[in-house]
């Protein structure tokens, strides 16, 4: 934390040299830093004003509104550093579940320029989903969560397409809802084919049906429990002019694969835009390939060998200490992959950006792993 401050202050100083007020502020910051060392002034300010400008991006939950039995929209007041979003984009949120911070990506479903500055994401609880279930069922207004800036290129182009088709299933409606809420009036001819298990599982059903009823868009609602899964072959019947439509598709991996294949076969790959929600579960097993990304070394490790030993065998330079899991001298970031604690078999899974760190002396590969060394 201390180290991060130095470049921050220097850039500020360089940028603001010559402006009296800014120089004064820089001087004040330096004094504040000198008083708060070894931590930063921010570490104190965070306790009072976690949403202020310049703080790590956070948000405060304003409301959690149920959409269906297992989906909810979370309304968030983002910190001052929030830079806005383009409809269709997602943000990553860091939520503490049972005291452990977990990061997940969810699509933004709100208007881009709400007067109150609030944003919202819509989350569907997936079976055994630690974070999604927590968000849908246990997240309370007032909770402070962590945020990333919005990102993603699953968005509408400008000018808007004359004819648009949205193929969605389940929570795949969420990025599309972000687009429709903001730009439906700019889309003269839009078709939405949405699948959900039953009528009651349709997220945003009231709004969608209202738009469909008013003719703002053509809504094709499929209930997979009775109608079966949507397949590309159904398109000719449901949307005869699908070939002429710019298409946005979001849903389960199987569905995305099928439509990508069909569009490719029709020579229309350029028409199709897909959004894949990367599954959180990393392939787990016993042992695996361990990549030491920075040093460019890769080793095969079995499920009984500490990653520390496996790395050292391959001449990877690794921090080490007690070799029994007590000193935390070997802690390094696990960029992605799964490892197992050799003491109790506990599994730790990481995906890019999670900021998960592991003790290499008591962790064995439980699948493919990438270590930040």
């Amino acid at each position: 934390m201390t180290a991060a401050a130095t470049p921050r202050t220097t850039t500020n100083a360089a940028r603001t040299r010559g402006i009296p007020m800014a120089r004064l502020r820089d001087a004040a910051l330096r004094v504040a830093h000198a008083v708060t060392t070894p931590v930063l002034p921010a570490d104190y300010l965070d306790l009072i004003a976690p949403l202020r400008a310049g703080a790590d991006l956070r948000g405060r939950v304003v409301a959690v509104t149920p959409e269906t039995a297992d989906a909810a929209t979370v309304v968030i007041r983002p910190g001052r550093g929030w830079r806005g979003h383009v409809p269709g984009q997602y943000t990553r949120i860091g939520v503490d579940v049972d005291g452990v911070r977990n990061w997940r990506a969810y699509s933004l479903t709100c208007p881009v320029d709400a007067a109150d500055g609030l944003i919202s994401i819509t989350v569907k609880a997936i079976p055994d989903g630690k974070v999604s279930n927590h968000v849908v069922r246990d997240l309370r207004p007032g909770t402070l969560i962590h945020l990333d800036q919005a990102t993603g290129d699953f968005t509408l182009p400008t000018p808007r397409p004359a004819k648009a088709l949205f193929l969605t299933a389940g929570s795949g409606i969420t990025p599309v809802m972000g687009m429709l809420r903001n730009h439906l009036d700019e889309l003269p001819d839009a078709v939405l084919v949405h699948s959900a298990p039953t009528s009651g599982d349709v997220i945003f059903s009231a709004q969608l049906r209202e738009w469909g009823g008013r003719g703002d868009l053509r809504l094709v609602e499929l209930h997979t429990d009775t109608d079966g899964m949507l397949s590309p072959a159904d398109l000719d019947e449901l949307v005869p002019d699908w070939r002429e439509r710019e298409t946005w598709c979001c849903g389960p991996t199987g569905m995305l694969d099928a439509f990508e294949e069909a569009y490719a076969a029709a020579g229309l790959s350029e028409r199709l835009h897909t959004e894949r929600f990367r599954p959180v579960v990393v392939a787990e097993g016993e042992g695996g390939t361990v990549t030491f990304a920075t040093q460019g070394k890769t080793v095969e490790a079995d499920g009984a060998t500490p990653i520390l030993d496996a790395g050292e065998e391959a001449d990877v330079l690794m921090p080490s200490g007690c070799r029994m899991g007590i000193c935390f001298g070997c802690v390094v970031p696990l960029r992605q992959g799964a490892v197992r604690d050799l003491r109790n078999g506990e599994l730790t899974v990481a995906t890019e950006g999670d900021g998960v760190r592991i003790q290499t002396c008591i962790s064995a590969a439980a699948g493919e792993c990438e270590i930040d060394l």
Binding site: Y44, V100, C327, F328
Partner: protein
Amino acid sequence: MTATANRPTTSTVGDEQFDLSIDGRLAGTPRAPQNTTKVGSRLSVAAKERSFVPKPSGKPDPAGHLSAEDIEALGAELDALRQEVLDSRGASDAAYIRKVLKWQRGLEMGSRAVLLFSLFPPAWFVGTAGLSVAKILENMELGHNIMHGQWDWMRDPRIHSQEWEWDNASPSEFWKHSHNELHHTFTNVIGRDNDLGYGIMRVDEDQKWYPSYISQPLVNFVNMVFFEYGIAAYDLEVGAYLQGRGKDKETFQRDLKKVLRKIGRQARKDYLVHPLLSGPSFFQTVAANFVANTVRNVWTHSVIMCGHFPEGVETFAKQSIDGETRGEWYLRQMVGSANISGSKAMHLMTGNLSHQIEHHLFPDLPSNRYAEIAPRIREICQRYGLSYTTGPLPKQVASAWKQVVVLALPNPQEGRSRVGIAAEAVGKRVRRKLRNRRMPRRASATA
């Protein structure tokens, strides 16, 4: 580390250069291998023959009545207890440490604000008391425990062993190496655990006596008053370096620079910037900071002394840990540590080091959970016929000091008193010095 031994601190892999030096930005950056012998994993729980390496004093094996299977069972029992805590670790624990953090930071800033008016005696007293408590909390319940990785599981980078820098003269990275790694792994192994007397004192009768130990009561007192600087020097391994058996010169100087930079920043805060902000109260604020730092020094020194120095704590011969199993390691931690009994507030102010035995068994369990497992550890000790040393703070401090004073002199021998042996040894040394001074050339020729 056999394969990677003896590498320089910078390494080139492909086109990239890796700085393996510890640059202070990230505590825990890769260290160049420290020694060439492969330590080997200590994860083994397999039962084997009991082995006991006697110490010079001939004290009996504290676990002599236990079989290899007993010790394996003990290990399994303690593993299960640890797992129980892990399984119930959650939101309330996270809330606990965040609450302590919030209160500590509030108390520190509040006290510093009050001290801006330290010209007025009531403000000085209130501010100094508050700052002392805040500084103690920061080092003990926050710093020490966070650096142990007790809160790493929360995955909060602000409360993480690899990120935390504490309010102390010694930089976190050096402390973590000498404390977490060396002391906690080699607890009470004579010759391996430098915490036994910090390398400047003799606190166990099985440590060899040298005449210089005669002054150790005074040394201990000075170390107590300036404890944080003592820790910095200790973590820097100054003693070993001066004796030519420590780090190489380049490493030492680089590390020394980091320590001095840290000391400089700490001193600038307490003795320059904060007093300057106090305006006319400058000198009063300097005094307040000095008193707060000294109060913390005396307090932490006393608490830490109670961890391993009091009577009843067992030590181990150097060779006794060859091929040590997890169960044996647990056993060594149990009988090699001592608790302090007292109130909740006392436990908080000691950073729960009052539960030293529990802490040494499970250094990475959240400190707020030691109290609840303490009675069960005590019961386990009883059942296995092992000692569980504990007592109120004054008693334990007195016991530790007694060791420091008594062991300043050599062990008594049959027919000879401690003082007699010490006097003889000192006399010998003085005579040798005098002789060398008188005949320097001959002395070096015969040496």
